[in-house]
């Protein structure tokens, strides 16, 4: 309105419409004076309107400095202060999966599960086809005062709620960041890749079986040498292989020390090596399991009270469990060399992990949970160092030409039937295996297969898996993934439902697992 008025008045003055009568009536001085006054008045009004416009702009500019910035984008939803020092973000990850098995068992042999019915003649239940929610994770993260941040990610998948991440950050500089609380373990490369960014439906044996998942404690990390070297060190409660620690108090007072160095030496070059990164990580602790519980009730992903893990296949079926009386009892050391490489649409990740775990055998003890009951008795001379290792090589290739990266994929053209876009398509393949120490399946003296740390006729001593798959990125936020996985085993089965004999001659290989895994995911 102001603009229109000022334009109108300016046009009048400039065009001389007002001045014409002045000339025409030059002899009438009173009229001339009146018109001059009118021009001056209009001129003032135009100037006032223009100045008010300037002041409004200045006020708006000043207001920008104090008005919170609200963002809603494919990266999530956020509210931040104009200087960016204070921010809160809302993000989310939902994965709806379907798993179909053409062959394979749902657990180790002779693992009775009444809900699945009676065991078959070989002592197994078939792996059951199922639809499930794999991850349901809303996230609230933010920062205050520029340097201090937080993240809280609950998990609603899996039938109960838990905290996946709950930590606070202090980012003193890019080279020195401190994080305290429940957080991802810093040692594994594939673990550090976001749950929505991983190339396969499930991570490899290196990550899922050997290396820790989430732990509670303090880590310090940072980027040095122009971001060519990333370091991380931590002191955490310690969690068993593949474990995701609970947020409660720990029964064991020992700490686990973690460290990782990862370098991308050519990241500022334009050569083909620019996308090469490699490093090494490790953990160390002296760790003992809880001593007065029923150790047979172990599971793969959660911290187990005997301090020992069980291991699952790519299809998430358990193929290895320690014997009921085995308990972590001493040092645990993990080491994991790792590398990745990205060049155009090609991505490669390779990792190796080895865990060395002191284990003892026990007898007796109470089945009572919650710390009551009586302690188990240790079998004299049963303490043994067991060494398990795993490795993986995985490759991905974006056939629609997008650049591959450690993070997610942003399609060149989103899937849109009206406009003809088909999103981004990626082919993926992985080979991964895990091999358990032979001594795991023998008695402490190493002479027989009975009285061992694990029963070779029920638990396999190795699993070898390959996966081929395709990822369809409909847009930056939505992905459909399909994996076909084949896993073969060494051991893990026997004749009928009898236990392994002393010589191990009644051990056979567990039936191979073939599974089709599908996922629809939305992440923001």
């Amino acid at each position: 309105m102001q603009f229109k008025f000022s334009k109108y008045a300016a046009a009048l003055i400039a065009s001389g419409i007002i001045s014409l009568p002045i000339t025409a009536s030059a002899n009438d001085s009173a009229e001339l004076e009146e018109l001059r006054g009118l021009v001056q008045e209009l001129s003032q009004q135009v100037k006032v309107l223009a100045r008010k416009g300037e002041i409004n702009e200045e006020t708006a500019d000043a207001a920008k400095k104090t008005t919170p910035i609200v963002k809603a984008s494919s990266s999530g939803f956020s509210l931040s202060s104009p200087d960016g020092k204070n921010e809160i973000k809302f993000r989310g990850l939902i994965q709806a999966d379907y798993r179909a098995y053409s062959s394979g068992a749902n657990d180790v042999r002779n693992r009775s599960n009444q809900r699945a019915g009676d065991l078959d003649a070989n002592g197994f239940h078939n792996a059951a086809d199922t639809a499930l929610l794999r991850r349901v994770r809303p996230t609230i993260e933010g920062k205050v005062g520029g340097k201090y941040g937080f993240r809280f990610t609950p998990e609603f998948a899996g039938g109960s709620a838990s905290a996946v991440d709950a930590y606070v950050d202090a980012n003193f500089s890019p080279a020195f960041k401190v994080r305290a609380g429940k957080q991802k373990s810093i040692v594994g490369l594939e673990r550090l890749q976001g749950g929505g960014d991983i190339k396969f439906l499930e991570r490899s044996y290196v990550t899922n079986a050997i290396l820790p998942n989430r732990d509670l404690g303090v880590t310090v990390s940072g980027d040095l040498l122009s971001n060519k070297l990333n370091y991380g060190v931590g002191i955490v409660n310690g969690v068993n292989d593949g474990g995701n620690i609970s947020t409660g108090n720990e029964y064991n007072g020992e700490r686990e020390y973690t460290a990782r160095l990862f370098t991308t030496p050519f990241n500022d070059s334009t050569s083909a090596l620019a996308g090469l990164g490699f490093g090494i990580g490790g953990t160390y602790t002296k760790f003992t399991g809880e001593r007065n519980l029923n150790f047979t009730d172990t599971s793969a992903a959660d911290a187990t009270r005997n301090g020992l893990p069980s291991y699952v296949t790519d299809g998430q079926q358990t193929f290895f469990r320690y014997a009921g009386g085995a308990v972590a009892d001493g040092k645990r050391f993990r080491i994991t060399p790792q590398a990745n490489y990205y060049f155009g649409p090609l991505g490669v990740i390779a990792e190796y992990a080895r865990v060395s775990q002191d284990v003892s055998l026990t007898t007796g003890g109470s089945l009572a949970a919650g710390g009551g009951g009586t302690n188990t008795a240790f079998v004299a001379g049963s303490n043994k160092k067991l060494k398990h290792d795993a490795w993986q090589v995985a490759a991905s290739y974006l056939i629609t030409g997008e650049d591959a990266s450690f993070k997610g994929v942003k399609p060149k053209n989103n899937f849109d039937l009206d406009k003809g876009g088909w999103g981004a398509w990626e082919l993926v393949a992985r080979y991964s295996e895990i091999n358990l120490d032979n001594d795991t399946f023998k008695n402490p003296a190493g002479t027989t297969f009975t009285g061992a740390y694990a029963d070779l006729s029920t638990s396999a001593k190795s699993a070898k898996s390959w996966i081929a798959g395709v990822n369809w990125y409909l847009n930056e936020n939505a992905k459909v993934a399909l994996n076909y996985t084949h896993t073969s085993f060494d051991g893990g089965a026997g004749i009928g439902i009898t236990a392994v004999n002393a010589a191990g001659t009644n051990v056979t290989d567990r039936e191979s697992e073939n599974a089709l895994l599908a996922r629809f995911q939305v992440a923001f």
Partner: protein, 336 residues
């Protein structure tokens, strides 16, 4: 293990004490958050102080300044603008640093001479050459055809001085009849076509944009406009009554302590009271408080019949509450 811890402790002690001391010896940074028309004053003063401090200590001191409406500047400091020094238009705004931010002690005004006001000023009229509307006194500002330029008292310290000076005049004219005084102020603000947020903005409106017949201005700002911004285009009119403006200064103790700049910030303000500092103030048309310099520049500043904030308005707290707080007299008359 113990030996390595001891070594780390020793190294930390060496670097923790010696290294920062060496670093601080080279350059000290200060931020002076000031009100709108002091740009030229502190440009000159900062140079002089840097030279003084270099001679005295060998250190380089770099003073950055921020300018804006006094009330807005106080709010910015309270909201976290890391000022080492605040040099604002009126004591009420500095009081806010204590009341709302706990950034300075309660007795801040006693830390330096003259209630921490190293220089004073007053409010005068700047009119166009020849004074075409024949404006001589406050009473002329409420005439129908007079356009008055003044900033917004809600955001500008200078505007609050303007308002109170006009109020004092109207009260005197109307025998302390508050209703008539309000009516006078109301008429005056009906003649204000543009409300800038700060004094410098109003100067721009009047001098550069050519709006209005009279600018109610800080005396120093009026002199600056007359002698430097538009030579020969303006005249200063001193009204029959005006107000003694005492812009205060203070170290923002909390931030200065955080920056480790307390000593240099204090020295900066003390330097304002020295003969050199007072000369710079006078050359920038602020009335010096040091008698010797005041005498030297006596001819530069016209004699004015002053009212004072403490004596005539019961101090800034009372004046702010009555006139400029939400629902105060300014809101009452400006909404009419």
């Amino acid at each position: 293990m113990k030996k390595s811890l001891l070594a780390i402790a020793l190294l930390s002690a060496i670097y923790g004490v010696a290294a920062p001391a060496t670093a601080l010896a080279k350059e000290v940074n200060l931020l002076n958050v000031s009100y709108d028309p002091t740009r030229e004053l502190y440009q000159d003063f900062n140079k002089a102080f840097a030279a003084f401090w270099k001679t005295k200590t060998g250190d380089d001191v770099v003073v950055k300044t921020s300018h804006g409406g006094s009330g807005k500047q106080a709010r910015a400091i309270i909201d976290g603008l890391d000022a080492d020094i605040a040099t604002l238009a009126l004591a009420y705004d500095v009081d806010q640093l204590q009341e709302k931010g706990k950034l300075i002690p309660k007795d801040w005004q006693k830390h330096l001479a003259h209630n921490s006001s190293p220089y004073t000023s007053t409010i005068v009229f700047l009119v166009r050459k020849g004074n075409p509307k024949n404006i001589k006194d406050w009473g002329d500002l409420v005439k129908q055809n007079v356009s008055v330029i003044t900033p917004n008292p809600k955001t500008s310290g200078g505007a609050r001085w303007n308002y109170l000076a006009a109020w004092a005049y109207a009260q005197k004219q109307n025998g302390n009849d508050e209703a008539k005084t309000k009516e006078f102020i109301s008429k005056l603000f009906k003649n204000v076509p543009v409300l800038d947020t700060g004094a410098r903005g109003s100067t721009t409106t009047f001098v550069e944009r050519g709006i209005g017949d009279v600018l109610l201005a800080w005396e120093n700002e009026a002199f600056l406009a007359q002698k430097e911004l538009g030579v020969g285009k303006f005249e200063i009119v001193v009204p029959s009554l005006s107000i003694l403006a005492e812009p205060p200064v203070t170290v923002v103790d909390k931030f200065a302590k955080k920056h480790g700049t307390e000593a240099v910030a204090k020295a900066y303000l003390e330097y304002l009271y020295t003969e050199e500092g007072q000369e710079i103030a006078a050359k920038n048309y602020y009335r010096p408080t040091l008698a010797s310099v005041a005498k030297k520049y006596e001819a530069q500043f016209p004699k004015v019949n002053f009212v004072k904030i403490d004596e005539d308005f019961g101090g800034w707290q009372a004046a702010q509450k009555k006139h400029f707080s939400d629902g105060g007299t300014f809101d009452q008359i400006y909404q009419k």
